[in-house]
């Protein structure tokens, strides 16, 4: 029997790794993947609390988080392709002018 706090600590570690990746990485696709990592950490929290409070709404909410993450990934990757077509680079440090 695993204490609830272990699950929450694991979720916090994954979230922290996601935030770190968002801050230190320079490739726009890797930054996007760190966002997905943060969402996964939050999903684990939701399911852990659903198991503790015996409420299935936690798992339903994870379903919605996944749907929103899918929609966000689709649109975000389309934006990345559009930026690559305009600027020929995937490095966020070089995408710093409003006009080409």
């Amino acid at each position: 029997m695993v204490p609830l706090s272990y699950y929450l600590v694991l979720s916090a570690i994954l979230f922290a790794c996601g935030v770190t990746g968002f801050l230190i990485k320079r490739n726009i696709i890797t930054i996007f993947m760190s966002i997905e990592l943060m969402l996964n950490g939050v999903n684990l929290s939701f399911v852990a609390f659903a198991a503790q409070w015996h409420a299935l709404s936690g798992q339903v909410f994870v379903f919605f988080v996944m749907v929103v993450a899918a929609a966000e990934a689709a649109v975000g990757l389309a934006v990345i392709i559009a930026i690559y077509r305009a600027r020929e680079t995937l490095n966020v440090d070089q995408v710093n002018l409003l006009k080409l």
Partner: protein, 173 residues
């Protein structure tokens, strides 16, 4: 040292190792593969918590569709190894210790406030039929709204990723 704890530690260590590898790798394709490993480990964790439908959906949707999209884009745009700029070195110098301190604080706060509340393995049966009952009765409005959201996302992605009209007009001349 119950089997629940051993499995939790196995999947947990795999998830954290994948997350740290995502940060450590310089080529985006390696980061993408580590993220897939994290998602698979999390699917295992979900199974331990009794959420079998959510675990299956995690594998099918997240690891099997969203990450395929990422891998496609990495392959299409021929993303290369990351370069180290001055900004990234500063971010690493301040970001990693900051995050370590932050996560240690959060972990300490969580471990001390929840006492000894235990979660038992697979007590809550997240079978598809129970989740469907909730989804189509209490959560019907969010369900319909997310379906419209996906429709908007599809249309937006197709419009954003198509070739711009200016290029087509130039080709006509």
């Amino acid at each position: 040292m119950s089997i629940h704890l051993i499995l939790f530690l196995f999947f947990g260590v795999a998830a954290v190792a994948g997350a740290v590898n995502l940060l450590a790798q310089s080529h985006p394709i390696n980061s993408a593969l580590s993220l897939i490993a994290v998602m698979a480990a999390l699917a295992g964790e979900f199974l331990l918590l009794g959420a079998e439908f959510v675990a299956a959906i995690q594998v099918i949707v997240y690891a099997g569709a969203i990450m395929v999209l990422f891998v496609f884009v990495i392959m299409l745009l021929n993303a290369g190894v990351e370069e180290r700029t001055k900004g990234s070195k500063v971010a690493i110098m301040f970001g990693i210790p900051g995050m370590l301190i932050g996560s240690v604080l959060v972990a300490w706060a969580v471990l001390h406030s929840y006492g000894n509340q235990q979660v038992f393995a697979s007590v809550l049966e997240g079978t598809p039929s129970k989740i469907a009952m909730l989804l189509f009765h209490e959560f019907l409005l969010p369900f319909e709204v997310t379906s419209i959201l996906i429709l908007i996302a599809i249309m937006g992605a197709v419009v954003l990723a198509s070739k711009p009209h200016a290029v087509q007009k130039r080709k006509e001349h």
